[in-house]
Amino acid sequence: LAPLSASDDEHLAGLAADGDLGAFEALVVRHGSAVVAALERLLGGDHHGALDGAQEVWVKVHRALPGYRRGANFRSWLFAIALNHGRDCRRRVVRRARFSGDELAFAGRLDGSTDGRDPSERATERGAIAAALTAVDERFREALVLVDGLGFGYDEAALALRCAVGTVKSRVHRGRESFRAAYERMDSSTESKSPRPPAVAAASEWPGSRR
């Protein structure tokens, strides 16, 4: 695979916007796995859901390509669409869990507890990280996925999240704290019923938290 450069992405996106399906395929090859990985993190480690969601994201991207501003940062533009779709998917999952009476199990999953979660999935590090991320506020989680997960710069992430760079930094720092607390809580709950570390209490009292 040729080394990726941002200008290549923008050039390919311009060609794809003109209807070049080959350029679009090249973009899918370059960013397809990143979109899947990001959605997997956003959807609590659901790999198959992330694959389906990524497909829908690319369909949305293809539809939106005529409106892509030439020369604009393609990765930010792409992940703005992907994050939007991730939010929609998550809401859909929550709604489905409520309708099917599985609300308690889903709430446990969101809290990062082991209840309602496949133990074999938790056995892997990847699953544990995804599970701990579900306990992080959605806005913080998105910033974490972009900056710490995919290596976005703060400027690039701010474009994708459509907020100020300072806001992204703040969300990333608070998200790291929150994630760390959730991850440690999950570890302690699996090994022994140890008291919550002080960081968990602090993280759960963030004023910006939605839960």
């Binding site: 399906l21 395929e25 090859v29 694959l51 829908e56 369909v59 293809h62 997960g149 790291r176 991850y183």
Partner: protein, 368 residues
């Protein structure tokens, strides 16, 4: 730097965004503080956990699935709702109606469509139909023309054999020339609106008779020719039975006696027009006046000239025409020139209207 200050700057240091001076102070602090050094390692571990593996090229199966989804329904432009087709159909119907109306307006007078127009007191029942070979005359069957804005839609005489509401037209390679004799019944009575409407209705009803004659003529031509006229046209026109006219209408528009030459005859040959009169002035002038309202501009000019000639011959002052508003300059003449214009300067007049001529003729009766 104490522990709180060091921990407050730790994330920024991990991001590599701390200034050189602060970074050096932070490093100096955690070298001396074991707790802060452990905290730094723990935080670096958190960031390492969150980091996703370096992204490789996407799985070919996933790329293929994405491209299939894009090429399928996903990439197709959003389908329009089915009811939008109705608006298109309605627009097409209105367009067809406008086009047919425009075609009807542009047709040469004297064709079969002319017969459905109100022609005043002309006696269409005794219309003489002559046919000469000529190119391109359009025959539109008005009975089947659906006019959405007109309140008085006459249902067709027999069930429609074509899909509603599309009108159709047939182009016949012959010209049908209709000579309309105008009856004369003394001075033209000043008719009220209702009487005028009755007259128009009666003229329309009688027009179907003439239409039937045209249809017969067309049928003969079709039999003689290769049959370019559809049989349904002739059948429909022939089956269109005229209603019985009211008695009073029969009196006012009585057919001429056989063998009597009509007082006014209009003959058309292509674009040329010939207006011939026959008989006494008392017969000719009302017939000319009756022709005025419905005549085309060229015929109106001819009739006006003939009436002016009659007035000159009789030594009578013709009626004053209406000031033609088209010739006026609303800015100059009304505001400035009205104050400065010479007293003798007259606003140009248009030709007198049919009503003016009728008044003139009725008023001039004692003088004649």
């Amino acid at each position: 730097m104490n522990c709180d200050q060091a921990r407050a700057r730790m994330w920024v240091e991990i991001d590599g965004e701390l200034g050189d001076g602060e970074a050096a102070a932070l490093r100096a602090h955690w070298q001396s503080c074991a707790d802060c050094a452990a905290e730094l390692r723990a935080r670096q571990g958190v960031v390492a956990k969150l980091r996703l593996a370096p992204q490789q090229a996407a799985d070919p199966a996933h790329v293929a699935a994405v491209l299939a989804a894009v090429a399928g329904a996903g990439s197709a432009p959003a389908r329009r709702p089915w009811w939008l087709a109705l608006t298109h159909l309605a627009a097409a119907a209105v367009g067809a109606w406008i086009v047919s109306a425009a075609l009807g307006a542009g047709e040469p007078r004297g064709s079969a469509t002319e017969l459905s127009a109100p022609v005043g007191r002309a006696d269409l029942a005794s219309a003489q139909v002559a046919s000469v070979p000529a190119p391109e005359v359009t025959v539109i069957e008005r009975e089947r023309l659906w006019v959405p804005l007109a309140g008085s839609h006459r249902p067709p005489a027999r069930p429609l054999s074509i899909p509603w509401p599309i009108p159709y037209e047939v182009r016949v390679p012959v010209e049908v020339r209709v000579e309309v004799p105008v009856p004369v019944a003394g001075p033209v009575p000043a008719a009220g609106p209702s009487a005028a409407q009755r007259q128009a209705a009666a003229a329309l009803e009688r027009s179907s008779l003439a239409l039937a004659q045209v249809a017969e003529q067309l049928a003969e031509l079709r039999r003689a020719d290769d049959g370019s006229v559809g049989p349904e046209i002739v059948a429909a026109a022939a089956a269109d039975e005229p209603d019985e006219p009211d008695d009073d209408q029969r009196q006012t528009a009585a057919p001429l006696a056989p063998g009597r030459t009509p007082p006014v005859t209009v003959q058309r040959d292509g674009r040329s027009l010939r207006l011939s009169t026959h008989g006494a002035t008392d017969d000719v002038v009302p017939a000319l006046i009756a022709l005025l309202p419905s005549a085309e501009p060229a015929l109106q000019d001819a009739v006006q000239r003939r009436l002016l000639g009659v007035a000159r011959d009789l030594g009578l002052q013709p009626p004053r025409g209406e000031a033609s508003s088209a010739d006026r300059d609303p800015w100059y003449r009304s505001d400035q020139a009205s104050a400065t214009a010479l007293p003798g300067a007259e606003v140009p007049e248009g030709p007198p209207s049919a009503a003016a001529w009728r008044e003139w003729w009725n008023a001039a009766e004692p003088l004649r």
